[in-house]
Amino acid sequence: MHLPAGIRNFTYAEDMAIFRTRTQWVLLILLFVLLFTIPLFMGNYWLSIIIIIAITIIAALGLNLLTGYCGQLSIGHAGFIAVGAYTSAILTGQYEVPFLLGMLGGGLMAGLTGLLFGLPSLRVKGFYLAITTIAAQFIIMWVISQWGTMTGGFVGLTVPAAEILGFSFTSSTSKYYLVMTICVIAVFVAKNLARTRPGRAFVAIRDNDLAAQVMGINLFRYKLLAFFTGCFFAGIAGSLLAHCYYGFLNPEFFSIKESILYVGMIIIGGLGMTLGPIFGVVFIRLLERLLSLELVPFLESTITVFPSGWASGVTPMLFGLIIVLFLIIEPRGLAHRWNKFKNSYRLWPFSY
């Protein structure tokens, strides 16, 4: 990590610290203050957008651990999110398990499912592994939709609101605080996981799995650990989606399009960096809303020469175009661009 001029590390603790300077701590505290005062000045609509962003960040962090750090491409993430969602809904709805235990149960079940579908990673990699994870998506959704007696099938499943110690999270504000707290914890865990021994093993496997094996890293163990961890995060996100966002589950909510979107989010945000999924998720979710809510009505009302409804098709077209342009101009992601900005700010007026 580049440090401002005049700051030096004298101990291992200082060297390993994520927030090293007073400025960084102040900014972090201000960020927490901002995050936890947002409900004071934002209505239900923006709170719901921030809630879905926070939940998506949790899921994207898991995918980033799996794909960005460990290099195991997964295009079935929405399926694992669905496992967590339905498991949590069933545990809390039918078996009256407390919400927190249900959420952990959802994470565990998603993690175990990830373990199962991660087994092929020991024999295949790259695009072949991607096909395997796509198969996982379809298999999981087929099981959920066919197992109607447990999941409600295509009719759907009503999910009880999250409840902790008798307090029910039904208002947008309470849901926001719950989701944001778990999101902050997830970011903290993901950041530190990447700095541990397993995290370094993931990076080694990503960079050259053969060399990693030669160095003594157990590929079997760490690849499966990556799948378990990544899918555990997905399961937690699924549980929050079920209890704090939809309140009702239907297999249609977890389509292959969502899985592809998650991969797009971590690529745009930046693979292999904890900040990457955060940037990617915020960018994609806000872009979705900007295009469909602002641009389309503006175009419809301004350009009337075309038949009514013509601008609705502009949204998916522009969405794809922006993503492609972004990948051409900044393929390493927003987090990389942010790091470059920070470094140039610190070094200015010198260029290096």
């Binding site: 201000l30 719901s48 879905i52 709805g93 249609e252």
Partner: protein
Amino acid sequence: MGKRSSRDITRRGFIKGTGAASLILFIGGVPLLISACGEKKETIKIGLSTPSTGAAAEKGQVLEHGNKDAIKYINEEKGGVGGYKIELVWMDNGYNAAAMVNNVNKFMDSRCVTFGCSSSAMMAAGMSVANQNGFSGLAVYGAPVIYRPPQHIYGQLPDYGDDFVVFAQYYKNHLWDGQGKPTVVMHLLNNSTGYGAYDGARAKAAEMGIELLEPVFEHTASTTSETTSLNSIRSLDPDILYIASTPKPSSVIIKNANELGMTGGRMKIACGHAGMTKALVDLAGADVSEGVYGLFPTVNWDDNVPGMAKVKEYCQRYHPADFGNMDYIASWCQSLIMVKAAELAIEAIGYESLSKGNQGAWKNFEDYGIKALNNYDVEGLQGPVSYTPGDNRLSKSLRVFQVQGGNINPVTDWIEAPVIEYEKLDWFGKI
């Protein structure tokens, strides 16, 4: 260059200070700005969400047009409701569940008194937020799971389960001339549109003397061929092939059935009201869809009812491509019903209570508006609308139609679908 003193502001110090000041201004100033913003007065806000893009766009756009044109008609020719203009807050949900949840929150924030949604799948996504906040909604098309148990979501029209029950009743009384029980195979869209009809079949088929053959077949909204499933169905040799789906997949199934020689014979094909529209005939072809039965809860375009003249006028003026599509009539009716409920509420408690657009206003709208609906005829365009305690379907009447010479013609008068207390059935929505 002079020596810099410790008092001089460095570039970094300047940026830090500016950033801190901006943040403080933002946190402190935004609430002030929001509270200072005035809002339009003298309007009643109604929220509306249609799937105008995405997998159901062929229905969503027509539904959007019908809604908007009806509101235009009410504002321009009737002067609004009770002297107040209707302000429509329309949002496209793109057939995306997450977007629908955002939309419902937006409607609540925009101080809408109620909201409408055309798609049952999207209403299922948004209903939890609405129910938790006591924000009433009106679904054009719905599945039993949306209305049972009754909460704050109401159905403008009978649900998909009612379609099956009414058709089964019609078939037994008018088309069945065999011995024993007629058999039916269901081909379902893989969401609440399809499985809502299945719920109705499971609830009532045995009681009506109809044998429901298993397995049920399902398809996706993007299906391009159902030949495999239809071959299996042909081997079952059912009396009825019931398709509960939207127009595009329904047309694929009917075309494939025609290719396999399954149409025009003993087996009757019936479609639920989600699929029985002009779009079905256009997509499948008039020849191929000839003789197909279907249910629809509104009149068709040739019916001489009081409201039809204005429907035709506005459709031909603003959206001529939608002419002949019964979805347009359905969404036109949805707007009329929401406005009627607003009118009743304004008469009962006054404009001020509703204009606040908060939880109190929503409760007032529901109690004095929706629940006060009693035999409202919707200008003759659909079955009469009344609220019955314990039944959130505001209209329970359907008609059976048949495709004849490329037109969708009614073959029955209004048939009332019975109430089915699904929540008392041990298999309904339970895990």
